[in-house]
């Protein structure tokens, strides 16, 4: 086409075209990220996220932030560096949570009849806001990785506290004491019932009971820093606009 030609006939039409594309782009970005992030998350941290009796003070707190910081870091790498949009992490997390909530209602409850209060998803929005705000205020990937990544890990357990605390209340059942979440799990036995495969509340230093969650969160934040760096670079690669040779053209 001619370098002097424009596809639009007025500034008003240009604005309308631009705004329409904004909405189309946002929808595509939201849904595609939702799909990719969700399949990644459910298959790397899903079991701890699916069930309240998996939401323990050690592995849930450790695993979920580490595997969940991936897509937010990658999308931030594109949306901030190219468009100065400080919404990458929040967009990812909102997409993931929407997909999860729809699924938990329509399928976990709607198809296989698990009550929602045993299969609600983990809360990740506060951590995402921290990542976006640190990046927006600092404009620094390094600071976002270190301060934001650490904050992402540290805030995960507190941000889930309001919803998980009632389920961690102790109950006595047939002479044994355990949590309300465990009791729910006993009544809704699954192939992945955690007491069967022993992947919750384990460790040789369980005598430090009250310290488990903060130590796990700190370790999770540390690994999240490293994963953030890695995935930020992944995001820059995925945001590339290069072509490779096409023999047909």
């Amino acid at each position: 086409m001619s370098a002097s030609q424009s596809a639009v006939r007025s500034r008003a039409e240009a604005v309308a075209v631009s705004r329409t594309f904004d909405w189309m782009i946002l929808f595509v970005l939201f849904t595609v990220v939702l799909g990719g992030y969700h399949i990644h998350f459910m298959l790397t941290g899903g079991d701890w996220d699916f069930w309240s009796d998996w939401k323990d003070r050690r592995l849930w707190v450790t695993v979920v932030p580490i595997v969940a910081i991936t897509f937010p870091a990658a999308v931030q790498a594109c949306l901030w560096w190219r468009y100065r949009l400080p919404i990458g992490a929040t967009l990812c997390v909102l997409a993931l949570l929407l997909g999860e909530w729809i699924n938990r209602y329509m399928n976990f409850w709607g198809w296989t009849y698990f009550p929602i209060n045993i299969c609600f998803p983990s809360q990740l929005i506060p951590g995402a806001i921290i990542l976006d705000v640190v990046l927006m205020l600092s404009g620094s990937m390094t600071l976002t990785a270190v301060a934001g990544g650490l904050g992402w890990g540290l805030i995960f357990y507190p941000s889930n506290w309001p919803v998980i605390a009632p389920l961690h209340q102790p109950v006595e059942y047939n002479g044994m004491m355990f949590t309300l979440a465990d009791l729910s799990g006993y009544h809704y036995v699954r192939t992945g019932t955690p007491e069967y495969i022993r992947m919750v509340e384990k460790g040789t230093l369980r005598t430090f009971g009250k310290d488990v969650a903060p130590v796990s969160a700190f370790f999770s934040g540390f690994v999240s820093v490293i994963i953030y760096f890695l995935w930020h670079f992944f995001g820059k690669w995925f945001a590339g606009t290069g072509f490779i040779a096409d023999d047909a053209s």
């Binding site: 424009s6 595609v32 939702l34 990658a74 699954r190 945001a239």
Partner: protein, 250 residues
Amino acid sequence: MAATTESVKADAAEAPLLNRRNIVLGMLLYFVFYSWVRWYEGVYGWSAGLDSFAPEFETYWMNFLYIELVLEVVVASALWGYIWKSRDRKVMSITPREELRRHFTHWTWLIMYGWAIYWGASYFTEQDGTWHQTIIRDTDFTPSHVIEFYLSYPIYIITGVSAFLYAKTRLPTYQEGLHLQYMVAIIGPFMILPNVGLNEWGHTFWFMEELFVAPLHYGFVFFGWAALGVLGVLNTEVIAIGKLIKKDLM
């Protein structure tokens, strides 16, 4: 220049830049179809999907599988064949306005791809998790797999390849070669389907119902990452559309 070429119909200049009806109808098509599928799962998953050796399993689930596989091959062949056969052989000669119109159509395809990805990678994949947490499998073709692997995945593959083919055959932006991240965004999620082979091979050795995060599933994870290739497509499109509009929008 371009208005005189064969590639642009005389009335194309007056056609709307974006046909919103296509977006609404396309999304409704998937929504209504998948709602019906979900109803079918709800009814026949429990009544006919628990024992793969039962005659009703063959009736309601294996026949569903055979029919969907045939339909998918037919639809993919027809759709991809049509897009390729009707390609614009003078794509570099189109007017800027026609090019903008095609970018809108291209984004209509991308919206359908995103919508299909949501249903396949999010809705039906996590749904498979709760089914296997509830029912021990006795076949590779469980009710959830018949829908997830062999229906929702092929649908997003057909949609995604169609979007890619549309861009490649009708938009000057993509004539430079093969857009690497576009291929990543299409081929990566496509590879999730062949990875089902690894998944089923593993599950014939081990049940592993108890752990959705088992390493056997990491192939799905790896190829799921490829969805991020949409970022590269987004950047390429923003550059191309910006050049077409050539207006200061601030």
